[in-house]
Amino acid sequence: MKLFSLILHEILGLFIDDELLALGILAVVAASAIAATWSPALAGAVLLLGSLLAVTLSSIKTIRKL
């Protein structure tokens, strides 16, 4: 049982390492979904630029922590 809970924890860890990054990505996808109802081109730009911004902010946060 302990092994399976460990495996589940590790699986979750595959996708969520830094909470800020994970939340940022989900926020970007949500913003892109809203934009898609209005303009698909804008939605694409939000998705791509938002993802790059999320990685940048998460990396800067890690450096500041060190």
Partner: protein
């Protein structure tokens, strides 16, 4: 033909390279187990893990066909973004010299020391711990391989080519591992991880967009453009972070 290769090529390459990274990591632990406790517990643990992975694939695989394609693309796209950007962040921080580089030789030494620490236990107990260690390593790394194959292949019916890419990686690593019988420390794992992170992030953007109903300019060729954008941005960000950290250290 060009359009078909635009997704098939990156999908197979991503599955192949990502699988190399994961299989090398699993191999290091299985090799440490076999070095300390012999091949028997290492092979039993590995065999049980492969059986569990096969059962998972056989059970969950057919369910993928029942999920509407747009939902599948969106879910897989978001998971790929979470997975790929997490790898990309780490790869950028490693390239900038902020995080330590991954080293298979030290991972092997750490695992070997952990297994030797258990020397006070009974022999049967030691074999159990060793088998479990191999099982856990192969299940965890194997799950990542399975996820990557599904993620890069399921959205466009490329599961078979992606799985073949992963299978080729497993065969290559096992062949090299058996031949040299040491941790594969010379595999440029950090560079590979950077490359794989870029490809997975590019696929994540592509599938998520497709799932949201975005018609990417150039259709499938957009994946190649995303790869180029993530590569350029990742390298630039790593360079900027490296410079800013070295400036702060100098002050």
């Amino acid at each position: 033909m060009i359009i078909s290769w635009a997704t098939t090529g990156p999908a197979v390459t991503a599955a192949f390279l990502a699988s190399i990274v994961e299989v090398v990591e699993a191999f290091t632990i299985v090799l440490a187990v076999s070095t300390v406790r012999g091949w028997r517990p290492a092979l039993i643990g590995t065999g049980c893990a492969i059986l569990l992975l096969a059962i998972l694939i056989a059970t969950l695989g057919p369910l993928l066909d029942r999920v509407p394609i747009h939902v599948l693309q969106l879910v897989i796209g978001v998971l790929l973004l979470l997975f790929g950007l997490r790898w990309l962040r780490k790869a950028i921080l490693r390239a900038a010299g902020i995080l330590a580089l991954h080293d298979e030789a030290s991972a092997f030494a750490r695992q070997e020391a952990t297994l030797r620490e258990a020397d006070g236990h009974r022999d049967a107990h030691l074999r159990w711990i060793a088998g479990l260690t191999a099982f856990k390593a192969v299940v965890l790394e194997g799950l990542e391989v399975v996820f990557i194959v599904i993620a890069v292949g399921a959205g466009r019916g490329l599961l078979v080519p992606a799985a073949l890419g992963a299978f080729a990686a497993c065969a290559l690593v096992l062949l090299l591992g058996v031949l040299i019988h040491r941790p594969l420390a010379r595999v440029p794992e950090n560079t590979l991880k950077f490359g794989v992170a870029i490809m997975l992030s590019a696929f994540g953007i592509f599938w998520t967009g497709e799932g949201l109903g975005i018609d990417w300019p150039g259709q499938d060729l957009a994946v190649l453009a995303f790869i180029a954008i993530f590569l350029a941005y990742g390298l630039a960000l790593a360079a900027v972070l490296r410079r800013s950290v070295s400036r702060e250290t100098a002050q």
